[in-house]
Amino acid sequence: MTAVAAHDHHDDHHHAPHGLKRWLFSTNHKDIGTLYLWFSFAMFMVGGLMALVIRAELMYPGMQVVDPEFFNQMTTVHGLIMVFGAVMPATVGLANWMIPLMIGAPDMALPRMNNWSFWILPFAFTILIGSVLMSAFAEGNPSAPNFGWTFYAPLSTTYGPASTDLFILSVHMMGISSIMGAINVIVTVLNMRAPGMTLMKMPLFVWTWLITAFLLVAVMPVLAGAVTMMLTDRHFGTSFFDAAGGGDPVLFQHIFWFFGHPEVYIMILPSFGIVSAIIPTFARKPLFGYASMVYATASIALLSFVVWAHHMFTVGMPLAGMLFFMYMTMLISVPTGVKVFNWVATMWRGSITFELPMKWALAFVILFTCGGLSGLMLAITPADFQYHDTYFVVAHFHYVLVSGAIFSIFAAAYYWLPKWSGVMPNTFLGELHFWNSLLSVNLLFFPMHFVGLAGMPRRYADYALQFADYNWWISIGAFWFGISQLIFVAVCVLCAMKKGEKAPASPWEGAEGLEWTVPSPAPFHTFDTPPVVK
């Protein structure tokens, strides 16, 4: 009690908490943002290692490195970790750090709940990664989840290993974390803006995250429903995904993808916001078509609720259903096209310089568009019958998620690291990281289009001999890309140790926005008294 009463709120310079307590018990949006970012980076490394196990096995035809059972566990847990552990927490970390700074708020709206959202994650992933370690090292090698990251029934119900139950409960934990985090973002944006910061003055990153948070609150509960049905089908005799009792395995796919498709926008919308912040800065021109960007983001989000069955064209659906989902999916390319057009138009006749964030953002625009176009190909129902579950699909979603979402997260890191750490990221290492990643990512994922169109199915530990050469190159690209990320570890560690050129409050010439009005590194408390936005 005394702690509460004695807290003096008119003292802006009271000392920040120190040591372990600062991080474990934090209520500070910057510290929690930092925790999220380091955590997601660690998960990116773990998930990346699993990808390298997959690529080591696929480097040559035949079985060399792991047995097929463990290979299946690798594809499954790699996907789960990258989606729920790497990309999502990274964008939540960015939201934590940047949204209060961008809208002139003293912190996130509900600071303790913010910390809870974060601290659930390490425990949830301990459970998930623990089951992989058990599979690798424990006696009898009890299988980790092995049914693919989409955990289709009946692979995950009737045939799921014992660890499936742990997986289900860890997904529940991730869902609780995401829902609380998303509610926090929505409330912060709607209730905590500085006077004068009207909705249509908010930076686009704030807008895209507001809409992302809405999607999270809408679909994470649906995922919770799906895994709960799995649990009761496995143990309590319900028949949701079992035709013999009057249910249907396809019902699982419908519920899963009702969550799953908005989920891909949850991962990419914040990227749109990042790129919309960076391109105007380095083109030294205001963002072209701000209002149309907001409306495009909102329409993408709304359309994402009515396209889910494009993942299920081959499962057996009435013709009218297939046509509906095909046209709705194609419709999404309209607002997405608006965005790409606006980014290009922002650069048109701008005085562009190519600092590191801009390089990553440009790579994002081009490579994400490649991924978007292959997505359009996959949307065409009859064509999808051929592409479905081949490496073409793998190429598509890795273009939008790796050279899309993850590249934009790198862009954000290079853009805001000066604000977070107070020092400029090392340019030499940054250039090395960028060029190596750019070249290797294309070597890694571009040939997957070819082997996919030629008919190589995804999720197999072995393949027919005619795919051998491409797969060798793909694996070389994978190891090259993986090693390149170690350079980024060095960049981050140098910044964390404050080694490097000192950053001014606004290190980028063309940058605008409230976050650049506070010193670098941003003090522990900012905007205790809200700024007035004109």
Partner: protein, 298 residues
Amino acid sequence: MAEKMTKYYVPDSSPWPLSASIGLFLIAIGGANFIQQSTEFGQNTLRNTGTWGQYPLILGALWLIAVLFFWWRDTIRESVNGLHSDQLGGSYRQGMIWFIFSEVMFFGALFGALFYTRWLIIPWLGGEGSNAMTHEILWPDFQAIWPLTTAPDGRTTQVMGAWGLPAINTAILIVSSITLTIAHHALVAGERGKLILFQGLTIVLGLIFLSLQALEYVHAYDMGLTLDAGMYGSLFFFLTGFHGIHVTLGTIMLIVMFFRILKGHFSKENHFAYEATAWYWHFVDIVWLFLFVVVYWL
């Protein structure tokens, strides 16, 4: 009560979020192990024969309850000491609204499963569309009728009628919504006696609802309507069961509010927790009305 803050209150560091995460962790690992050792359903042969799940499960649950108690105690103290500005009240209210929205989406998934079953799965199993072969070869005797009293594999069950206990329960919940609204108005008008009376009445109605629901479940199991009796039983118990869990939670919240009223925590302007509880109770009522129509009646 101290004077109200105008600045936004950002709390000092707090041990409760991390502690609550530890509670969830214990519940998850204990829960998975406990379910595996204590259930025998399904064809799952890869079962872990864990024997220790109940200890972390119970410990985690008690731990989490204790942590939430201390967490909310801190929040209540801050509120009573006037640290909560109107803006913070706005954050709490908006947060609660979005939490209820997430609950709506959870029930949406369950209702979606119900409609998908009634409109697509059952007709298709009966051979409609291009599914004639499924019907002919696997289950030639299958009758595509809803409610599904005979599953394709021959399991049979009974249908729960709408106009016995469920209709009485519908009336009880509607009346409880009205009594709660009267209590809420009494709180705003400062009529303490009326508030306590109608708050108590709402709690009693909630408890009666839960008892009748329990009675209905006993009755259902007696007549062969069980969780493992095919899709009708699955959907019936999922929808009514998750609704029942929410009513239980709502009743506990109402009881907590009752004691907080007795302690004089709320004022005309400052009663967010009470408002949130009321919203939650109305939400649970509305879910029941949908449920009554599509699960019991039609």
